[in-house]
């Protein structure tokens, strides 16, 4: 019996909240607009962040370490070195290029630069024999580095090993971009979240003001705190839920638009194809995150507003 009464009361609180939401729609639109912006930024940041980490791991695969051998290194020394490198824990594959192979590789890489090729061909092959190592984990290159810089091994090398320059640079750029975007994203999310809370707070405050007579009557008739407060909280949770759905729709629509116009699958460093598939594959998770954020922002701001403006204490 008591449980049933509580259920009926809960339903009435929700129902009143929904009715008030519709009555209050003109005020609600402002509150929802700012919340949509907030939630869209959150969603965008999540997707961009994951896409960048994906791009980084893609490029990481292409990274390798080149070891340049002195001309006097014998074949048996080379074989020994290769087997030692293979024994390293972080080494995935090892490839050996003889001086001739290395020169051919160098020529094909620089086929457009005739002057350079000419200069190379005028001397007797200046390109050293090379061992190319693919590491398993790029972030843990130090073990390979340490091994290669041991005196007995560095004695065999003409130059310090190179960590395939261009791709390393690309990774650094993307990592940097990701970090900057993360920072901007966090700051933007915080600013907009605070603004949303303030605006919803204001909306609820006005709603309380508009209904002050009704609230006064409810109190005198003995309505409980939550019977009065509940509908306001339901109302602002509805703002949150609708804003979350709208933000998802906006992101979805922008993917639709970009896949039509930008046939190229990447926009600068941002791999739109991956971003789109990430959005599709994780749709439910993203929707849940958005809905819960919407609920939290709505509930927090209305809890504060009702606490502040519906004074429940008697003097």
């Amino acid at each position: 019996m008591r449980g049933k009464r509580k259920l009926i009361t809960l339903w009435r609180v929700i129902h009143t909240g929904l009715v008030n939401f519709i009555r209050n729609l003109s005020l609600a639109i402002a509150a929802m607009a700012i919340m949509v912006v907030t939630l869209t930024i959150v969603l965008f940041s999540i997707i961009v962040n994951y896409t960048f980490s994906h791009t980084i791991s893609q490029i990481t695969n292409k990274i390798d370490v080149s070891v340049y051998l002195k001309n006097r290194v014998t074949q048996s020394q080379t074989d020994k070195l290769i087997s030692e490198i293979k024994a390293q824990p972080n080494v995935q594959t090892v490839q050996y290029l003889s001086k001739a192979q290395a020169l051919a590789e160098y020529e094909s890489q620089n086929s457009s630069n005739q002057q350079l090729l000419q200069a190379v061909n005028e001397t007797s092959n200046p390109i050293p024999a090379t061992i190319i190592i693919k590491p398993r984990n790029l972030n843990n290159l130090s073990s390979i580095k340490n091994f290669l810089s041991e005196p007995s091994i560095s004695a065999l090398q003409t130059d310090p090993p190179s960590y395939s320059g261009q791709e390393k640079e690309a990774i650094d750029r993307i990592t940097h971009a990701t970090n900057v975007l993360q920072e901007i994203g966090v700051v933007a999310v915080i600013i907009f979240a605070v603004v949303s809370v303030l605006i919803i707070f204001n909306t609820i405050q006005m709603a309380i003001f508009n209904r002050r007579d009704e609230i006064q009557i409810m109190r005198l008739l003995g309505a409980g705190t939550w019977y009065i407060r509940g509908p306001f909280i339901v109302e602002s949770i509805v703002y949150g839920l609708l804003s979350a759905i709208i933000s998802i729709l906006i992101i979805n629509a922008s993917f639709q638009a970009s896949s039509g116009t930008l046939q190229a699958s990447s926009l600068g460093l941002l791999d739109i194809g991956y971003a789109n598939s990430f959005f599709d594959n994780r749709f439910l998770l993203l929707l849940t995150i958005q809905l819960s954020l919407g609920i939290v922002i709505g509930a927090v701001s209305s809890l504060i507003a009702t606490r502040r403006y519906l004074k429940f204490k008697t003097k």
């Binding site: 009464r5 009926i8 007579d213 008739l221 309505a223």
Partner: protein, 227 residues
């Protein structure tokens, strides 16, 4: 049923008390009229009883509830035991007559079926059958006040407090309202009525408590109006 022991209320420090050491005892099923000029403390007295205000000193016990021991979250429960009728009716303008009365039941979690059974019975007591679907603005002052009474008694409170319920009504409608209060009192509800209306006091011949400057200056049974 109502017990006040040397109750005082001062609104701001240093000012003259609105109620000055009032002691009053009202038995169950009694009908008590509180009279006095504006500013005599009638409204303050009622606001203390509904716990819109807290007394500065003294003891208030209503229906066995000691107001000193009442926590803020228990105030709604107290108010559900006391029916209150106001001079300005305080009906919800966007709700029909039926909904206004049902509202008092909805907030205590009564089911819709029970509400549909209960409301017409109460509207019958206040002679408003047939007005269920009207809006408050379509009713006369007397009818509005009867809706307010219906709302106050629908939860069967043991005490009904009526604060100048006839203040905005012409004599005929005023008397209709008073007759309904008498009817409710006959059913066993304690009634506390404040009024200015000399004619009503004289015709009712009930216990009259007279307030002046925050003090009780007379308390007589079967009395007429005299300030």
């Amino acid at each position: 049923m109502i017990l006040l022991d040397r109750v005082s209320k001062t609104y701001s420090r240093g000012s003259k008390p609105s109620l000055d050491r009032i002691s009053l005892h009202v038995d169950p099923k009694e009908f008590v009229i509180v009279v006095g000029q504006s500013g005599a403390g009638k409204t303050t007295l009622l606001r203390l009883l509904t716990r819109e205000e807290r007394q500065t000193s003294g003891k208030i016990i209503v229906g066995g509830i000691d107001y000193d021991k009442l926590k803020d979250r228990e105030i709604p429960l107290l108010r559900r035991k006391i029916g209150v009728v106001f001079q300005d009716f305080k009906l919800l303008p966007n709700k029909t007559i039926f909904e206004n009365v049902a509202y008092a039941l909805e907030m205590v979690g009564m089911g819709n079926k029970e509400i549909r059974n209960t409301v017409p019975k109460v509207l019958d007591i206040v002679n408003l059958i047939g007005k269920e679907d009207s809006m408050p603005m379509q009713l006369s002052g007397g009818e509005k006040q009867r809706v307010a009474i219906a709302r106050a008694i629908v939860r069967q409170p043991r005490i009904l407090i009526a604060d100048e319920p006839t203040g905005n009504l012409d004599p005929k409608h005023a008397w209709d309202v008073i007759k309904i209060l008498e009817k409710i009192n006959r059913f066993g509800t304690t009634v506390l009525l404040t009024t200015h209306n000399q004619d009503i006091v004289n015709r009712l011949k009930r216990r009259v408590v007279t307030l002046k400057d925050g003090k009780i200056i007379s308390d007589r049974a079967n009395a007429g109006y005299k300030i």
